[in-house]
Amino acid sequence: MAEITTLRNAISSLVHDGSILAMEGFTHLIPFAAGHEVIRQGRKSLTLIRMTPDLIYDQMIGMGCASRLVFSWGGNPGVGSLHRFRDAIQNSWPAPLAIEEHSHADMAARYQAGASGLPFAVLRGYVGSDIPQYNASISSVTCPFTGEVLAATRALTPDVAIIHAQKADRKGNVLIQGITGIQKEAVLASKKAIVTVEEIVDHLDAPMNACVLPFWVVTYVCEVPGGAFPSYAHGYYSRDNSFCKAWDGIARDRATFMAWMHEHVLTTEDFAGFKRSLNREAEAQHG
């Protein structure tokens, strides 16, 4: 039964040191505000699960929140590498980061299995790939009818899923529109779920076959307008491509990264404060 609360309260109630966290959003509706709140609250030793760790996980990894990363593609889409992600894996900075890597098809299947109450999923995957050699969560099963051997992959059942969506109503029913990605499965696979939304409305007005999460599978709903920035929220705002490019320069150097995080995230109150801080900097540079 969804409770409407502040993001600060939602994160502090559910995300603890050592929690297994799935923050999803497939190029769209990435829960940046929630990631910042986890950083502000100083969480450590998290297992971070995400198909596409990008800027937000780069920030969380660089700030030392994670001891383990479960993923299928780690990059800055359209820009290049994630420098904090690479630094953690290549140089254990700021802390060693164990990794468990899969393919997208596999990660999607693992979330589906978790959402379905099954211990594993079956896929035609990894044929000729080295990946399964390095990952104990990938095995195989034999079809009892045809004898074919297929990949088997362990279900994902995170402690907490965090996603961003367009709207919730006052009961906590959530509407996701546009590219819906893997968010529904992430929520249904997890024990608890936090959803940040652009707005809370009286009536959801969802089209009949829209992607709606009923209120009773959501733990907390938090109204955070712009909470997917610098990614986008279909119908609300576009991706901030210049931020994504600028991130490459910020994250390349440890000291630059730390200073940036300190100025814009650690010393701001919340996501609105973070954006005000960014705007002040932009005005100082251009004005």
Binding site: F26, T27, H28, M51, T52, F71, S72, W73, G74, G75, N76, P77, G78, V79, G80, S81, L82, F85, R86, I89, Q90, E101, H102, S103, H104, A105, A108, A109, Y111, Q112, L123, R124, G125, Y126, V127, G128, S129, D130, I131, Y134, E148, V149, L150, G178, I179, T180, G181, I182, K184, E185, C211, Y232, H234, S238, R239, N241, S242, C244, K245
Partner: protein
């Protein structure tokens, strides 16, 4: 190649785009594959069906997407489905004619590495982004095309890690469903597998490129096809369409979006 009136990126993209026949169902990676596929769509293949792994089927973007999940892909698609669905009902089911991939490194059998370079897996010299959709795109599509720039860092004798399978003899088992990689398109020319050895062999050079240049840019002893073709020069229409596509993209995104 400034004297030719076009860049090596442009001939590579145009050469790739020409291979897409109208009506093909193409699972498109971001960057060069997406550029080539959308160029084809604006020229000879208006009805090519583009699938992006974000779940957009039949997308018709007017500018190149910066990511596989840009909003315009959803707005112009015939259908927008979830990520599990795109991989299970659409890719894994064998509905894709061409899986169109980029790569960080390939070997002579078209195996792809996008995972680690150097060191060990646990402590690599360079950590790459990882698999994404590629391991299953490479084996579930009816055929795979690979597009990447050719040099000794990208065309290697032995991969540090096979992320996505090509024609590595003996490794496939029975589960590979398609023909695997059928062509590698580079900034220097085109490689296709020898029908017997399945080793990628130089079968075409772009105008002005020599066999020696191609050999010097290849980390294995590059074989050359008996009938080595020369890629036809880009037409004025092709160049205009490609440049127009990039210009529109630049105006929309502030980026030509060819990497990533």
């Amino acid at each position: 190649m400034a004297e030719l009136g076009y860049t090596s990126n442009e001939i590579m993209t145009i050469a790739a785009s020409r291979r897409l026949a109208d009506g093909m169902v193409c699972f498109v990676g971001i960057g060069m594959p997406s550029a080539a596929a959308n160029l084809a769509r604006s020229l000879h293949a208006p009805e090519v069906v583009l699938i992006y792994e974000s779940g957009t089927i039949g997308a018709r973007p007017t500018v190149l997407p910066l990511s596989i999940g840009d909003g315009e892909l959803a707005e112009t698609a015939d259908a927008v489905v979830s990520v599990p669905e795109i991989f299970r009902y659409w890719l894994q089911a064998g509905r894709v004619d061409v899986g169109f991939l980029g790569a960080a490194q390939i070997d002579k059998y078209g195996n792809i590495n996008t995972t680690v370079i150097g060191g060990t897996y646990d402590s690599p010299q360079v950590r790459l982004p990882g698999a994404g959709g590629a391991p299953e795109i490479a084996t579930a599509s009816k055929e795979t095309w690979i597009i990447l720039k050719q040099n000794k860092r990208t065309f290697v004798e032995k991969l540090h890690f096979v992320t996505s399978a090509g024609h590595r003899p003996g490794a496939h088992g029975s589960a590979i469903r398609g023909r695997g990689p059928t062509v590698v398109i580079t900034d220097l020319g085109v490689l296709t597998p020898d029908p017997e050895t399945m080793e990628f062999t130089l079968s075409a050079l772009h105008p002005g490129v020599t066999v020696e240049q191609a050999r010097a840019a290849t980390g294995w002893e590059l074989k050359v096809a008996l009938h080595l073709e020369i890629t036809p020069e880009p037409t004025a229409a092709e160049l205009a369409a490609l440049r127009d596509l990039y210009a529109r993209t630049e105006a929309a995104h502030g980026s030509a979006s060819t990497e990533g």
